[in-house]
């Protein structure tokens, strides 16, 4: 052991609504150690980081710095204690130069900027990292890797003792990853404790001294790297508890509805090929940054594909706009209800009929409100939307009911292919079960469904086949009976079939 830990998290718990994000987690970070944290989406990694950096407060548990209990009440306080975090997308002030970005958080240096001194000190810090970067250059236009270096330099300038790196390599090229690792090793040699979070197992096994696995808000295993194998790590991450496995009916029909071949969009994803049959649920599994949503957006024409072919019912089609997608019978229910999906100040009825207003015109070209109401009433009954009337503003409804309004809106377009992007994110267990029932019913009606979900047990329970993506590439398609948590996770993390 390397003496005493610099930061110790002791029995930390945190709840958000009905979700237990962290349940009694304990973790020790030692100086000069790279501690890797692994876990599936929603395992509790982000919550832990946010508690360490003062964004959230734990419901219970203790945080000890150098053995003394501390309260991290804000990010400023975390910074003062020597805890800093860098993220996949660094937060820069693009119009300030490198040196200004490094020293932006410094207080107590007097009211005037001593430019010469600032440049000299910035250069000294970058030299300490063995990085060559013009400190007078504006941050705008720096590569992500260079921006991360600036963030690290900023942390160093604040005498960082614990550096949290959340998916730092996700946007880097292989060469840049090597450079970043060189910096990480140098920081380790200087005695900084590093918490390293990544979905790339090979990187974790290359850089980490200790590997800890989270699942469902609990610490599952924690051991020195030498004692952990890739297979074991994946096994620990998988095996998520499943509340109740939904019994899907077999509804797949013979007719292939959608054929996608070698679909791609520059800078987002490429080489995606799959078929969906009528009545089939094709699950899209993957970790954060797998670019599954981009495939959905391409099929719906929001961010059109620039490569590959889409064939619908035997006809090759081009989809460059949502209207074209809708004409071909495609509907997309987005994950962001408030931002992308619903007009909150408008009524339930007005939201539901928005994409299909033309259907509600009378011969004079005026909207038939009673017909709109009738449609909305029908969906209110069918999907059990809980609201006093269909004229209520959507903004007043609960998350689950908003989700149902979204679904109604798109079902009303009478789609042949329904793309559901995270349909159960942020809704409670009861509403979740209702959505699952609905998916099953819709598939039984012969609608082809693409289910994008970060909830792995959900994807496995609801899908007839599972397509796994990783960083914009299609890794595998599993049939329902082959798709286990271990296999899907291994593919999502870029490992050969581990099962």
């Amino acid at each position: 052991m390397q003496g005493s830990p610099v930061l110790e998290m002791r029995d930390i718990s945190r709840r958000f609504g009905s979700t237990q994000a962290l349940a009694g987690v304990s973790l020790r970070l030692y100086p000069g150690e790279v501690h890797a944290l692994l876990g599936e989406n929603g395992a509790g990694k982000s919550t832990l980081i946010k508690i360490m950096t003062g964004v959230h407060q734990p419901d219970s548990g203790q945080i000890l710095l150098d053995g003394r209990p501390v309260r991290i009440s804000s990010t400023l306080e975390a910074q003062r204690l020597g805890i800093a975090a860098i993220y996949q997308e660094p937060l820069m002030y693009p119009d300030l130069n490198v040196a200004e970005n490094i020293f932006i958080a410094h207080a107590g240096r007097g009211p005037l900027v001593n430019w010469g001194k600032m440049y000299r000190e910035a250069e000294a810090i970058l030299a300490q990292l063995d990085v060559r970067l013009d400190v007078r250059q504006p941050a705008r236009g720096l590569s992500v890797a260079a921006q991360q270096t600036v963030e690290i330099a900023k942390a160093l300038s604040l005498q960082v003792r614990v550096l949290i790196m959340d998916e730092p390599t996700a946007a880097l090229s292989a060469h840049e990853v090597e450079q970043l690792f060189a910096i990480v090793r140098r920081l380790r040699a200087q005695g900084v404790a590093i918490l390293f979070i990544s979905h790339r197992l090979e990187e974790v096994f290359e850089i980490a001294d200790r590997i800890t696995v989270f699942r469902d808000g609990r610490l599952i295993s924690s051991a020195p790297r030498a004692d952990v194998t890739v297979e074991q790590a994946i096994r620990d991450m998988a095996g998520r508890s499943v509340e109740q496995l939904f019994p899907r009916r077999h509804t797949v029909r013979d007719e292939t509805l959608v054929q996608v071949r070698d679909l791609g969009r520059q800078g987002a994803f490429h080489g995606v090929s799959f078929d969906v049959r009528a009545g089939e649920v094709l699950g899209f599994a993957g970790l954060v940054g797998a670019r599954r949503t981009d495939v959905g957006l391409a099929l719906f024409g929001i961010a059109p594909a620039d490569r590959g072919t889409i064939t619908i019912a035997g006809q090759p089609v081009r989809i460059a706009h949502p209207r074209q997608a809708m004409r071909h019978g495609i509907a997309y229910v987005s994950e962001d209800r408030r931002g992308l999906g619903l007009s909150l100040p408008m009524s339930i009825a007005a939201n539901i009929t928005l994409p299909t207003l033309r259907r509600y015109l009378n011969p004079l070209g005026l909207l038939r409100r009673p017909a709109e109401m009738a449609t909305a009433e029908e969906f209110r009954r069918r999907l059990a939307i809980r609201a006093p009337s269909v004229e209520v503003e959507v903004g007043k409804l609960s998350g689950g009911n908003q989700q149902k309004v979204m679904l109604s809106k798109w079902l009303n377009t009478r789609p042949r292919l329904l793309i559901l992007d995270e349909p159960t994110r942020g809704i409670d267990v009861g509403a979740k079960a209702e959505v699952h029932q609905m998916i099953d019913d819709l598939a039984a009606e012969g609608i082809a469904i693409i289910l994008i979900s970060s909830d792995l047990p959900e994807v496995l329970a609801m899908s007839d086949r599972v397509l796994v993506m990783r960083e914009g590439r299609q890794m595998a398609i599993f049939d329902r009976h082959e798709a286990t948590q271990e296999r899907v996770l291994a593919a999502a993390m870029g490992q050969r079939d581990a099962a």
Binding site: F300, I302, H321, P322, R323, A325, M326, Y332, S334, G339, L340, G341, L342, S343, L344, P345, M346, A350, L354, P355, L357, R358, L361, G365, L366, L367, R369, R386, A387, P388, S389, E391, V392, E393, K396, K409
Partner: protein, 343 residues
């Protein structure tokens, strides 16, 4: 379960409260000022509201889409002068042609605004601030320091502001006011019962959701600006009919008055909610307060602008505070109803 709470929505309370405020103001002024509730006051206010109200209809359409049109004052002035000079040169021009000319002139200027905002993606406030100055400059150039006078106009134009279409007791309704009322009713209908109207609300309340619903956002915003220009053109014609004497500064300040009417009338400055009727009531209340305070306290004309500014600020503040409060009050029983439905 059809209680009054469900039938009347907080937004409609806004319009009802405007009517209430108008009644209160009328009572106070009528009590304090001798001869305030007279045919003369009525005539003065309706003549002024006819013009601002017409512009406010167009402003409402634009504000609903989360944009703003600051160039309307210049459009009113330009159209008034342009149509006036055409009528002076060709006194035989049929009335219908004069109106069509005014609407087309305004529409063209609105088209320029709309193209720059919707397709050039320049923020509306910048675009129309620019065209506010440019259209005014065009007018100054065109007018070349000449004035259009009442005497040079055909008599039917000037009669529009003097004739009595019909009278309610002593209160005479002039054709100018009637035209604006008809336009308000028409556009209230457009907003409530047409695809275009629904799209304005949708685009203003959530542009991204509108995009996902496949709505033609650019075309709709363009149409809103063109209509706003056409209505401002129509207002220019009314302006000509009301004043007869038109100089290069005609219509200056109407942009502020129309924005004030829209905001006081309860149209959300972030788009997505509000009605044309509300804007008309807003215009009415503002003019009533202006007239009343002018005569009651003897405040100067210059205070009127300050009054406008104050009303805008009050309206925006009450928008977030009062409407938020009303929504909470409304939401509580709605939720209880929801629970009882379940149980």
């Amino acid at each position: 379960m059809h209680t009054w709470r469900q039938r009347i929505r907080p937004e409609q309370i806004r319009e009802l409260s405007l009517i209430g405020l108008i009644v209160i103001a009328l009572l106070i002024f009528g009590w304090q000022i001798e001869n305030f509730l007279s045919a003369r006051t009525f005539n003065r206010i309706t003549s002024s509201v006819a013009i601002v109200g017409m512009v406010a209809i167009g402003q409402t359409l634009v504000v609903l889409t989360r944009n703003i049109d600051l160039s309307v004052g210049s459009i009113v002035g330009f159209t008034a002068y342009f149509v006036g000079s055409q009528l002076a040169a060709n006194p035989g021009l049929p009335p219908v042609m004069a109106v069509v000319l005014a609407v087309l002139t305004g529409g063209t200027l609105g088209l320029v605004n709309g193209l720059i905002v919707a397709y050039g993606r320049v923020p509306a406030i910048i675009t129309t601030l620019g065209t506010l100055a440019i259209y005014r400059m065009l007018l100054i150039n065109y007018a070349n320091a000449r004035t259009i006078t009442v005497d040079s106009l055909p008599s039917w134009v000037v009669e529009l502001s003097r004739q009595t279409l019909f009278a309610i007791g002593d209160f005479a309704v002039r054709p100018l006011f009637a035209i604006t009322i008809v336009a308000v009713i028409g556009f209230q209908f457009v907003l409530a019962y047409t695809v275009f109207g629904r799209r304005l609300y949708a685009i203003g309340s959530n542009p991204e959701a509108a995009r996902f619903a496949g709505l033609p956002a650019q075309r709709t915003v363009l149409a809103a600006f063109v209509l706003c220009g056409m209505l401002a053109g129509m207002a220019g014609f009314l302006f000509l009919a009301r004043f007869g004497n038109i100089t290069a500064v005609a219509g200056q300040g109407i942009e502020l008055e129309s924005v004030a009417a829209v905001v006081v009338g309860g149209v959300n400055t972030f788009g997505g909610s509000g009605t044309v009727l509300g804007a008309l009531l807003g215009a009415f209340l503002i003019d009533l307060l202006g007239q009343g305070l002018l005569r009651w306290l003897g405040i100067s004309e210059f205070w009127r602008d300050a009054l406008l500014g104050l009303l805008i600020l009050l309206a925006v503040a009450s928008d977030s505070v009062i409407l938020g409060w009303l929504r909470r009050v409304w939401a509580a029983p709605a939720l209880r109803a929801e629970v009882s439905n379940e149980g």
